[in-house]
């Protein structure tokens, strides 16, 4: 039956069901092209809008957003001013040292510098332009000037002073901060906003000339085109050949805690950790790549035939149906006894009991009747005792009839 009849296939190259790289690429071509178009489009939009690079902080000359100052810097560069960006105090110092006589444009909206650092910054250059300084900056750079709050009316303010840049600008518009000078000082006060508050205050300090510029819109990309704003900005910042534009960043903050982990560990620790990640990835690919697809097999249902019997037994036990259970046991015993005793199938219980009593001298008829019919179990103990006696009776009859 299992004779080795064999299947011999004609020798031709087997067809591969795994798609080739080319086929996979062709299949996904539409989505690949779509993804490429999306990526290229995104890049183009980013480059075109110019928002992809550059700082996000105000007064930054790389920030092309409305509150940045890229426009001022670019115009200054076109006018031949060398605008140098400095992000930290050492950078600013190096830039000023490289071009003595440079103007320093300074703003610290983030408040990164300590008083000591502010003092150092104030000594950097002879000409300093402060953008919307706070209390700490004023104390370091221009002790004679104080903040006078944010004015309500800020539209079209005339210069009203003899500062050349302000005179050329004529009128400025926009919001910002106003400042007032100490009464005894010889500060030049321009663009009056209220009684003794001005948008521009130029004062002589031991370090040189410090100009406080309180009109924010003069510098921002958004507001520089209004009235004489541009003229004022160019006038104030473009006086020297070099402008050092110093806006402190987080790098200026001096760490004062204990030395961090990075400075204590060798340089190769991070690369080794990265290498461990790559090793893990390679191992995942090594172990995860399956050797072909899973094989599917329909398995037949498995049903244990005794389940109904076991289920019914548990049901009896749970319901405490000892009378019912004993009935089943008795009927089974009576059926077997009647066949052992050679009685007809329709023999009554009395007949079975009397026939059994006839072959069993040790058992009285009453006993047998009690076991087979009469005794009513009052609990599970009775059930077990009666079931044992049923077995005993059955064995006794069987051994008596068929010794």
């Amino acid at each position: 039956m299992s004779a080795p009849a064999t299947v011999q296939e004609s020798p031709s190259r087997a067809e591969a069901t795994t798609p080739t790289l080319r086929a996979t690429a062709r299949r996904w071509r539409f989505w690949l092209i779509l993804a490429a178009v999306a990526v290229i489009g995104l890049l183009l939009v980013t480059v075109a809008s110019g928002t992809g690079t550059g700082s996000r902080s105000p007064y930054s000359i790389t920030n092309a957003a409305p509150d940045g100052s890229k426009a001022v810097a670019e115009v200054l560069r076109q006018q031949g001013v060398d605008v140098v960006q400095a992000d930290t105090l050492p950078q600013a110092r190096a830039a000023v040292d490289a071009a003595p006589g440079a103007t320093l444009a300074f703003a610290d909206p983030g408040g990164y510098l300590t008083d000591e650092q502010l003092g150092d910054a104030a000594e950097l250059a002879d000409r300093v332009v402060l953008f919307l300084p706070g209390f700490n900056e004023l104390r370091a750079f221009a002790p004679g000037v104080a903040a006078a709050g944010a004015p309500r009316d800020i539209d079209g303010v005339d210069a009203g002073c003899s500062l050349p840049a302000a005179e050329r600008a004529g009128t400025i518009i926009g919001g910002g901060q106003s400042y007032r000078a100490a009464a005894d000082g010889d500060a030049q006060l321009c663009f009056r906003s209220s009684d003794d508050a001005y948008y521009v205050v130029s004062t002589e300090t031991p370090n040189g000339t410090t100009t406080v510029l309180g009109a924010a819109d003069v510098l921002s990309n958004e507001g520089i085109t209004g009235a004489g704003n541009a003229a004022l900005a160019l006038g104030l910042l473009g006086e020297d050949d070099t402008l050092v534009w110093y806006v402190p960043t987080a790098d200026d903050v001096v760490a004062d805690g204990p030395a961090d982990v990075a400075s204590l560990t060798p340089d190769w620790v991070t690369p080794v950790l990265l290498l461990a990640v790559f090793t893990f990835l390679a191992a995942a690919i090594w172990r995860g790549r399956r050797l072909g697809a899973l094989v599917v097999e329909n398995l037949p249902v498995t049903v244990r035939s005794r389940e109904t019997m076991e289920g019914r037994a548990r049901l009896y036990a749970k319901a405490g149906a000892h009378t019912h259970a004993l009935d089943s046991l008795r009927i089974g015993t009576i059926t077997r006894l009647s066949s052992v005793l050679g009685l007809p199938r329709n023999a009554s219980v009395e007949e079975v009991a009397s026939s059994a009593a006839a072959v069993l001298p040790g058992w009285s008829l009453g006993d047998i009747r009690a076991v087979l019919v009469d005794a009513m179990p009052s609990g599970e103990g009775d059930l077990i005792a009666l079931s044992d006696r049923l077995l005993l009776l059955e064995n006794a009859v069987t051994s008596a009839v068929r010794p």
Partner: protein, 443 residues
């Protein structure tokens, strides 16, 4: 594409240059990047140098059929049509129940040469066991990266019912020969039919002398010697036997770790083997709500062949068997009087009502035997009454036996005959019942 453990090791080895160069020249990051690029480059080169797993010729040599429990060898010949040596890990994707001893093997095939993969299959389930194809992972010479492809190469082995009950066949055949009488019987009676006329020899029963034939045979007046002729008889032959195997849901139940349907198949095979030797014609129907398998008009060795082939792929369905159409199916097989053997389940009166309702139609024309597997565990449970749970279980077992007894009585009352036995006992019991019926001339 796949990578190997060796490649993972190579990547991990990058820790040496990264630490050394990082310590000496503070160039750890660059070293890491360069090392990764190097491993990828070496891997790509390795991949390019690997033999293509697609340029292979696959020939499969497989036995068509195997009995359940036997072991066969599946042979696959791989011819390398690449210009390079193929170093590969090959997986033959057999279904789990095909019982493949090893599923993946390493192999080296030089260019234009052929190598064989041998897999021992020991299926542990009846039916068609299949393999979809070969998956070949071809490694490069450095063993870093590998190319992988699945080659379509379908294979199939039909796993036949084991027919373990054939061990009972010789003794039953001996009984059959006794019946048949190598010396043909001379007593006319039920279950015998006319065989031949032959000359009387001393010892023959004088009652079997056929006087008419004697008179025809010779004429004493013509000088011929007068010969006495006797009639001989032989057991009836060319009876019809229709075996109906129920493939409904009750046949899925396992008894002694064997589904009822397997026992039914065993019993039907033994009966068919015996009956076809006895000269009877056996037809088989596997039925639940439609015909799952059917063998008609085959005799001798072909009958068993076709029966195992047909029943190999039949599994119980989760359906209630439609007994009402069984009579029609039997009528479609034969119009003659036949022995109809119903291999099914006798459980409770409720679940057997379909069977009981169709029996009168069958017993009217045919001799009907209902054969069912009984659970020896139930019989054992009856006499185990150690504690409370066992007592309740014994009561429940008694109830099951009582139900079966009621169904059996009902079947007998409707004119059918019942054979029940444990999975091991049922096939010989059914064969014995067949022999008894044959001896009694009730076929």
């Amino acid at each position: 594409m796949a990578v190997t453990g060796r490649y993972v090791l190579l990547v991990a080895l990058g820790v040496v240059p990264v630490v050394i160069l990082g310590e000496a020249y503070r160039q750890a990051e660059i070293t890491l990047v360069l090392w990764l690029l190097l491993t990828v480059a070496v891997g790509v080169v390795d991949l390019i140098l690997a033999a293509s797993p697609r340029r292979l010729v696959v020939e499969r040599v497989l036995p068509h059929r195997v009995r359940l429990g036997e072991t066969v060898a599946s042979e696959v010949y791989l011819t390398n049509e690449n210009g390079r040596t193929l170093r590969a890990l090959v997986r033959d994707a057999w279904q789990p129940s095909a019982g493949a001893a090893v599923t993946r093997q390493s192999l080296v095939v030089p260019p234009s040469e052929r190598r064989m993969l041998r897999t021992a299959l020991t299926p542990f389930r009846r039916g068609d066991r299949r393999t979809a194809g070969l998956t070949v992972r071809s490694f490069g010479p450095l063993g870093l990266w590998a190319r992988q492809a699945t080659l379509s190469s379908p294979g199939r082995v039909r796993v036949l019912p084991p027919f373990t009950s054939r061990k009972h066949l010789p003794s039953r055949l001996a009984r059959l020969r006794e019946l048949d009488g190598a010396t043909s019987v001379q007593i006319r009676g039920q279950g015998t039919e006319f065989d031949s006329l032959r000359e009387y020899v001393r010892g023959d029963d004088v009652r079997s002398i056929d006087w008419r034939a004697t008179a025809r045979q010779g004429d004493a007046r013509a000088g011929h010697e007068q010969k006495l002729m006797v009639r001989t008889w032989r057991p009836e032959r060319d009876r019809r036997i229709v075996i109906v195997i129920d493939t409904g849901r009750t046949q899925a139940a396992r008894i002694d770790d064997e589904p009822r349907i397997d026992t039914s198949i065993e019993a039907s095979l033994l009966l068919a083997a015996l009956a076809t030797r006895a000269g009877d014609r056996v037809d088989l129907i596997a039925w639940d709500r439609r015909i799952r398998g059917r063998v008609t008009g085959a005799t001798g060795g072909e009958l068993l062949n076709r029966m195992v082939d047909t029943m190999a792929t039949v599994d119980p369905e989760l359906l209630e068997t439609d007994w009402s159409s069984v009579a029609g199916q039997v009528r479609a097989v034969t119009n003659q009087r036949a022995l109809v053997v119903l291999l099914t389940t006798i459980d409770t009166p409720a679940s057997s009502s379909g069977l009981l309702s169709v029996l009168p139609q069958l017993t009217q024309r045919h001799t009907v035997v209902v054969a069912a597997v009984s659970d020896p565990e139930v019989l054992k449970a009856v006499s185990q009454r150690g504690d409370r749970d066992e007592t309740y279980r014994a009561a429940s077992a008694e109830r099951s036996l009582l139900d079966m007894e009621r169904v059996t009585t009902a079947i007998r009352r409707l004119g059918g005959d019942v054979v029940t036995g444990s999975p091991a006992a049922l096939p010989p019991m059914l064969a014995d019942r067949y022999l008894a019926l044959k001896a009694a001339g009730k076929l």
